[in-house]
Amino acid sequence: MAGRTLYDKIWESHTVGILPTGQTQLFIGLHLIHEITTAPAFDMLRESGLDIPFRDRTFATVDHIVPTDLRQRPFLDKEAEDLTRALENNVEQFGVEFFGLDSMNQGIVHVIGPQLGLTQPGITLACGDSHTSTHGAFGTLAFGIGTSQVRDVLATQTLAMDKLKVRRINIGGALGIGVYAKDVILHIIRRLGVAGGKGFAYEYGGAVIDRMNMEERMTVCNMSIEGGALVGYVNPDQTTFDYLQGRAYVPSGAAFKRAIDYWKSVASDADAKYDDVVEYQGKDIEPTVTWGINPGQSVSISERMPRPEEFPDPEGAKKAYEHMGWQPGAPMLGTPINVAFIGSCTNGRLADLRAAAKIAKGRKVNSGVRALVVPGSAQVKKLAEQEGLHKIFQEAGFQWREAGCSMCLAMNPDKLNGREISASSSNRNFIGRQGSPQGRTLLMSPAMVAAAALNGKVVDVREYE
């Protein structure tokens, strides 16, 4: 019998049964919630008179809508205040653990789960946010869900699911200087396409992934959904165990040893059978930047923007050029920017801020650029300040903010104006994503964003490394 993947193992151990529809009823070990996608789910519970049978397996925070400058209540934005209040009332009424604005554990849901050690190998994890794939970095079967599914998890701790296929993605060799985890995942999405992962879980491996720290692995897994894959994961290893040891929700002593035994047991077997395998080499990956309106429309920094006819979908490329306003064939290098955003669940962790600060240190943000650094969590902010990163950023001319999702999706006051062009460490360059229907987003690594901020245009960060 062929070996099994991590996905197979977790799927089997969490299967409650097969439903009359043919779907699997899957137990959800951890449920993370936030203010945006949950209010109607709690309303549905109330209307049906249902309780939360496993309420100690749900944790809540506020991230999407929170202002990152003035945080006094009530918020200036009445809608933001009402939605935050709705969550506060719901967690109070149903007895859900809540990391609110006054908690040191507040932050982007995909940053705080790992930081607290709630995210662990061998569990199933659901959250009403597509970037829940982030948690797969730990060997967790983690995926985003809609509001009706949030209701189902609250009411039953299970979901009706169909099993995915598994594609192994090997990244061999080593990355060059100035090439980051963000470049790896942008490269993968460019090669496999934004819909290429439909029906698959992505298992990332190979020498490059093996050498990555947990924060880098989270960046890779985070954007699995941008490649169409609901789930992305890395098999747990010593790097994973070292990261988890001593965190708030991780057991200690003999229980920690038992946990490691379990975590090791869920990793894919050496002879695991995959539905598909692809291989890329680290040396072929360069600093990568998106030029278009989806995360698959990217080029290496040294390349020119492609011609629409080079694309399988020329009409889609034309639509992208129409919005972005570039000429096909123009160089990416030197593209002007107005805004620089460092943060998000993709790249708002301590390692990301360190990488950006290394570039910004002792230099000045270009006078034409509005530059923001938004830590992914209150804890990341605190640790960064202990290292003096905030001083480096502030002296360079970056604004240093409170934790939240901020300009990744611009549900708070941090937005692009008009046709502004943003160099952004976030995950989506969709039309209107950063708050202006005419705004333009260039996705890149945090170090590349910092370098772009200094120059007022896209540059090759390797000149600084």
Binding site: V16, T21, I36, G432
Partner: protein, 204 residues
């Protein structure tokens, strides 16, 4: 829970939205996710593509009187990619869309549609071109989607449609609103949970 509603057939006129990879930020901009309920989502689908900054209507199929009251939406590839926001299918549904026919759908979007009782079904690329042309030529064309026979009919035409069999069963048997189905197994859920070592904090 709510009463069982079996969805076997959707009939009516159609509206086409051309283009691949139409993401949920385009279907509903994030600023509308600040509302506490889905009640007003029907006012917002494709808002920034339908209105300019001053609120003036732009050229868009959802603004076109020819397609008024359409209940079936024709789309291309990877429709609904990006954010998991259920607000996107809620906006389409509350606008009046009761079925979506496309070349392919993003995973979370298709799941959200099914859980709301909104069938999202696929046809081949050539067939979607044929359907889009048919509705552009005559917006009053009546289409009939039948989930039992897995066909879409109009005039003398009959096209095979596809969707995951589990979704088809959920819709046609009225178990798409899955909470009651899942909740019925709560004892088995507790047994499954008890076997997972992390549920007891690895205490043994």
């Amino acid at each position: 829970m709510s009463e069982i509603v079996k969805i076997t057939r959707v009939g009516g006129t159609a509206v086409p939205i051309r283009g691949n990879d139409i993401d949920t930020d385009r279907i509903i901009p994030a600023r509308y996710l600040k509302e506490v309920t889905f009640a007003r989502m029907g006012e917002y689908p494709f808002f920034d593509e339908r209105y300019d900054g001053s609120g003036k209507k732009k050229d868009h199929p959802f603004n076109d009187p020819e397609y008024k009251d359409a209940s079936i939406l024709f789309v291309n590839k990877n429709f609904g990619c990006g954010s998991s926001r259920e607000h996107a299918p809620q906006a389409l549904y509350r606008f009046g869309i009761k079925a979506i026919v496309g070349e392919s759908f993003a995973a979370i979007f298709a799941g959200n549609c099914t859980m709301m009782g909104l069938p999202a079904v696929t046809v081949g690329a050539g067939e979607i071109d044929q359907l889009v042309r048919s509705v552009e030529e005559n917006p009053r064309t009546e289409y009939s989607l039948d989930l039992q026979s897995k066909t879409l009919s109009y005039g003398n035409h009959r096209i095979a449609i596809d969707l995951p069999e589990t979704y088809r069963i959920a819709l046609t048997t009225g178990s798409w609103d899955s909470t009651a189905l899942l909740r019925a197994n709560l004892e088995q859920v507790k047994k499954t949970a008890a076997k997972l070592p992390y549920m007891s904090g690895f205490s043994s």
